[in-house]
């Protein structure tokens, strides 16, 4: 069986923050040679700068943070100042040797630098180029600023993620990584297309559009009934119990969902409450749904006396769907994830030994892997400009002095 799915594929990653880097990291895990093109002039400050939320105007720091590390595993890094003519020229020479280009600059920026798709096609006709943005490459709002919470709000996800009597929810980084995952799928589809036709292409992803696609089933109430769906919290449109209940420890919760009558009987038996089976309010699915408030009280009274893991075990044993609302601590202690070997360690030259999550799925015949920690800024300048592009040491030094490799 082959060593890796994407061995022999090279990706030039000009992206920063989360979505673009996660896209190219998935490709790196599959064996692609991913080269980050970064510059001290505009270092991936959001991620490389320690201790920030989502932005800073503090001093630039070329060293990694754990967040940068976990989104940039297994990649190489070179420095190029794209605001210099030589920098653009070198970037194009790297494109010539690459299969995929990933960028998430503000729409239009890359083209203005002379690195738009039409420019890159001249250098490498079958290049697959993906541009990721919040809003898309064109349109009246394409230049708008948006972070995860912003495009979560625009997509409808923020509004619909809410208690039925609540307020919209501020969504976060999961949406960035989802966008990166979707971009990865599009890149793989384009590579497949290229393997059949020899053609490259340009891929344009807007984060708000990616997320709205995950709400399509709910959205269909609009064309079908001219009705705009409303938030429903943890509840279900037709079955109950279906919710998240408090457990013994502080801020500890378990999710329970009961669809079928047999599951309801099993739940009552597991709770030691055969009387609930006789209660007319809970006798059948429709009545359970109607009286879900009362149901919630009965179940919470029981779950409060156990830990989340105890409830999970008791109910799963009885054939009832129950899983904790896992915290990161709960996941770190979880026996299932340990057995699945989800948590791995990498050695980072400056941050030391760090735990990272392994690949998100298993290709049994050609496993994805983490080859190394994230690169230091410009760590592979000599390798890439020297070995790959064939520049002499002299030349590389000169470019460094001139602020091109910077």
């Amino acid at each position: 069986m082959t060593a890796t799915p994407l061995g022999g594929t090279r990706v030039l990653d000009f992206s920063w923050v989360l979505a673009g880097p996660y896209c190219s990291m998935l490709l790196a895990m599959a064996g692609a040679d991913v080269i980050r093109v970064e510059t001290l002039q505009r270092a991936d400050f959001i991620s490389r700068q320690p201790g920030t939320a989502e932005g800073t105007n503090g001093p630039l720091n070329p060293n990694s943070t754990p967040r940068f590390n976990t989104i940039n595993l297994s990649k190489r890094s070179v420095q190029l100042d794209l605001h210099t003519k030589d920098g653009i020229q070198l970037a194009k020479e790297l494109v010539r040797l690459s299969d995929v280009v990933v960028e998430n600059y503000r729409p239009g920026t890359f083209a203005r630098l002379g690195l738009g798709y039409q420019d890159l096609k001249k250098v490498r006709p079958d290049i697959v180029m993906v541009s990721i943005s919040g809003m898309g490459q064109e349109g009246p709002e394409s230049q708008y600023a948006a972070y995860a919470a912003n495009f979560g709000a625009l997509s409808g996800m923020g509004y619909l993620t809410s208690y039925s009597d609540g307020i919209p929810t501020e969504m976060r980084g999961v949406l960035d990584l989802l966008t990166g995952t979707t971009a990865c799928f599009a890149v793989l589809a384009a590579l497949h297309h290229r393997s059949v036709t020899g053609e490259g292409q340009y891929l344009d992803l807007a984060a708000r559009e990616v997320i709205s696609c995950c709400l399509g089933d709910l959205f269909l109430d609009l064309p079908l009934n001219d009705r705009s769906p409303k938030p429903a919290g943890n509840s279900h449109p037709s079955v109950a119990p279906h919710g998240v209940y408090p457990c013994k420890e502080v801020d500890s919760w378990v999710s329970i969902a009961v669809y079928a009558d047999e599951e309801w009987s099993a739940l009552c038996a597991a709770m030691g409450r055969p009387d609930l089976l006789e209660d007319p309010r809970f006798r059948d699915q429709l009545n359970r749904w109607r009286h879900q408030g009362a149901l919630e009280q009965q179940i919470s009274a029981w779950t409060r006396t156990y830990s989340d893991i105890e409830v999970m075990r008791l109910l799963q044993q009885a054939g009832v769907a129950a899983m904790p609302s896992f915290s990161s601590k709960g996941l770190s202690e979880d026996l299932h994830l340990q057995q699945r070997q989800i948590f791995q360690r990498v050695q980072h030259p400056e941050l030391g030994s760090l735990v990272v999550l392994g690949p998100p799925f298993r290709l049994v015949g050609s496993p994805l892997r983490i080859a190394s920690a994230a690169p230091l800024l410009g760590e592979h300048n000599a390798e890439v400009f020297g070995d790959l592009l064939g520049l002499s040491q002299e030349e590389v030094r000169r470019l460094g002095d001139n602020g091109v490799i910077n």
Binding site: T2, A149, R172, A189, C214, D217
Partner: protein, 399 residues
Amino acid sequence: MKDLKVLEVCSWYAGPYCGKLLADMGADVVKVEPPSGDPARRAGPFPKDVPHPERSGTFLYLNTNKLGITLSLQTTTGQKLFRELAQQADVLLEDFPPGTLEGWGLGYEALSQIARRLVFISITPFGQDGPYRDFKAYPLNTFHSGGEGYTIPGSLGWLLYSERSPLKAAGAAGEYYAGTMGAVATLMAIAARRQSGMGQRVDVSKQEALINLSRIEIEKYFNQGLIESRATRSFPIGGSFQCKDGFVQININSDAMWRGLVDLMGNPQWACKEEYAVREGRNAAGELINAELAQWALSCSKHEIYYGGQARGLAITPYLTPEEVYASPQLASRSYFVQVQHPEAGALRMPAAPYRLSASPGLPRNPAPLLGQHNQLVFGERLGYSAEDLVRLRSAGVI
């Protein structure tokens, strides 16, 4: 991706969304349903709220561009037909409880004997092995097993509802995320096959897909001892604010953005404090500033703040309702919505695709299939069964 032949035997959301991504991208996807149909046909929304198996909004959205056949895998003839279909496929996408297909002699071991190039993808809540392998999980449970639930709602939602339970993301979002990861896994296995000529087994655990999307938050516990929860998600300043007609999200990430926001508000006295000019000063007064922002926002409409803010380069967006998403001028100019015509449900305006591709557009062109709509095409033309055979199979309950 016309050359790619996918056999999808999945139900509800995750597997079918994976199949939809492939189908909308041009792959030939044959969806195998039991004779009673994918249970998603019983989920709404329905036109006028009248349930009908050919008019389920959930099914209609998740199964565009697929060919639909019926097949009972419990019957020996059904299993035989399935083997024949698998032999013609590049990809098998399934989401049965682990061990189910094996029990019918249709597991990877058996099928790879007759189809060495087959990529066999299983999407299950917890994967093909491990202590939770046989656990039962509906979308609510799977989502909360993935770690994101524990952190929502944060910020203002947490301040208002700290005694309430953690929340799942809207609808079946977690299932869509898992389906997307499954689609990535599928094409990686196909890429591997381009080099090796061989198929392989792919094990997608929905929980593992979800925790990967929360990797940054989860790793903070291991590496920094910090547990992210609903209580730890607030920004020092900014966040969500109520307006006259809904909510906006205001992210203030630089001094320039702060100055722009002050300008948007009309340079009120309270905002012109010298210490607020720099981040540290603003963060230290976060609660005070947010209280003022909240009061200001209440007097504005969300779109007023949106366009006024963005004109000043501010990361401010409204929380759009689904109706407002459908009415978005940006999405209209992007041709984000496509009208799909379904024989039973009529014209369905829906999101077209999560990307725009210059060479191989990923637009749903064809509606979701009627139950068994392509039995003749697939069993007849592709497998060579006669019309009489099909009648016999039908009355025997095989298809």
